[in-house]
């Protein structure tokens, strides 16, 4: 037995080899652990990225759809909103469009906040191009040249005009024609305010049948001037029931 022990020579070297396997094992375990830890960090990051707030996205898309739909609270036609109704948008309108205590919502036009439910901080933003229709009453005093039987043209297209005729004492206006069609007639003389329907497809033009001259200031026109401006309607929805879901705010 002892002899057999003696036959092996490099004993210490053998022990070192045993140690070296152990060291290799520890090294391998360390490498595997580090790799696993790194993988888990990457996976955690990936999961954090996936928290994108689909619910708030869905609510924002729905709300923007509802606001610009023809039957919506502020729209006069699909994607055309009434300017004054837009600025008078109420929180109740937003609640009907999907805002709740959990989903805070803000509506802004060209970056200016119009109305909000709650205080959305971040969240999902849906932007849409809309036409903002604004109408205001325009009053014009066209220049009349020619004295008797004058004609006037106003570079405006509209479907209704309020015509104010105040003839001078020695003049009587008996007939007003627009586009060859008689729109007002009174042999006894026209004097006062008259509502006239006109064609929205051609430039406004009137011809007057008068006895005696008519001067500038004797005829006044008032009409609804509608103007459509392009604007960006942004609907921000922030899901305040969930953590995360960052993004931008308007």
């Amino acid at each position: 037995m002892r002899r057999s022990c003696h036959t092996t020579t490099s004993g210490t070297h053998r022990v070192d080899r045993g140690m070296s396997t152990l060291i290799a094992l520890v090294a391998a375990i360390t490498v595997v652990t580090i790799t696993l830890g790194g993988t888990m960090v990457i996976v955690e990051d990936a999961f954090r990225e996936t928290r994108r707030g689909d619910a708030e996205r869905a609510v924002a898309i729905q709300a923007s759809d509802r606001l610009v739909a023809a039957g919506g609270p502020i729209a006069v036609a699909p994607n055309v909103v009434n300017g004054s109704e837009l600025s008078n948008l109420t929180a109740g309108d937003l609640r009907r469009a999907g805002a709740t205590d959990r989903f805070a919502m803000a509506v802004s036009v060209d970056g200016e906040r119009v109305q909000a439910v709650g205080d959305p901080d971040g969240g999902h933003v849906v932007r849409r191009i809309v036409l903002v229709q604004s109408s205001e009453r325009a009053v014009r005093t066209p220049t009349i040249v020619g004295g008797e039987d004058p004609e006037l043209t106003v570079p405006v297209r509209t479907d209704a005009v309020a015509l104010t005729i105040t003839p001078p004492p020695n003049t009587t206006v008996t007939e007003v024609r627009s586009g060859g069609r008689v729109v007002l007639a009174d042999p006894g003389g026209l004097d006062g305010v008259y509502d006239v329907e006109t064609s929205p497809y051609r430039t406004l033009a009137f011809a007057f049948e008068t006895t005696g001259p008519l001067a500038t200031g004797d005829v006044e026109l008032a009409y609804e001037a509608t103007d459509r401006d392009r604007a960006i309607l942004a609907v921000t929805v922030d899901d305040q029931g969930s953590v995360g879901g960052g993004g931008e705010a308007v």
Partner: protein, 162 residues
């Protein structure tokens, strides 16, 4: 001689343990590996993997619910007299469990065994829609049906046929 013999004996004793030390060493190595792997399995399946599954389930649930809400909303035509039937695809299960999508109080809610999965998304429908009712089972095909009634339109979530 005796001194050297004793020294040799000591050394020989060490050397004789060599056979034993190899066995102990190998056993130790195997033990470490087994311990390490079992610890790894314990950590992964005891905490990390279920957590990932739950997170994925919650995310998927929210996404499915959001998609469903958009689908229901876009299924309703703008024309108040129009009806519609739209098929919708739902994942058969989330986190290995079937679930339901229920319409209630003008919103869609997801009912799932795991409370972390689910939630509620409000629906914004045209003003002439009087109510939305019905529910979808994840295991059956999902259909949105928009019907006209004298009071207005009704949106129904129904099980369709394949």
């Amino acid at each position: 001689m005796t001194g050297s013999d004793a020294a040799e004996g000591g050394a020989a004793g060490d050397r004789c343990d060599r056979a034993l030390s190899a066995v102990v060493g190998k056993t130790l190595e195997a033990g470490i590996v087994v311990l390490y792997i079992s610890m790894l399995i314990g950590v992964l399946y005891g905490g990390v993997v279920p957590e990932y599954q739950a997170t994925t389930g919650a995310e998927l649930g929210e996404r499915v619910l959001a998609e469903s809400a958009l689908e229901v909303q876009s299924a309703v035509p703008a024309d108040p007299d129009a009806t519609a039937t739209v098929h919708h695809d739902l994942p058969r299960s989330i986190d290995n469990e079937p679930y339901r999508v229920v319409a209630r109080n003008d919103s869609l809610a997801m009912i799932h065994e795991d409370r972390a999965v689910g939630g509620e998304v409000p629906l914004a429908l045209p003003p002439d829609v009087v109510r939305i009712e019905g529910e979808w089972e994840s295991t059956a095909p999902a259909v949105v049906r928009v019907e006209t009634t004298p009071a207005g339109r009704v949106v129904r979530l129904e099980a369709g046929s394949r």
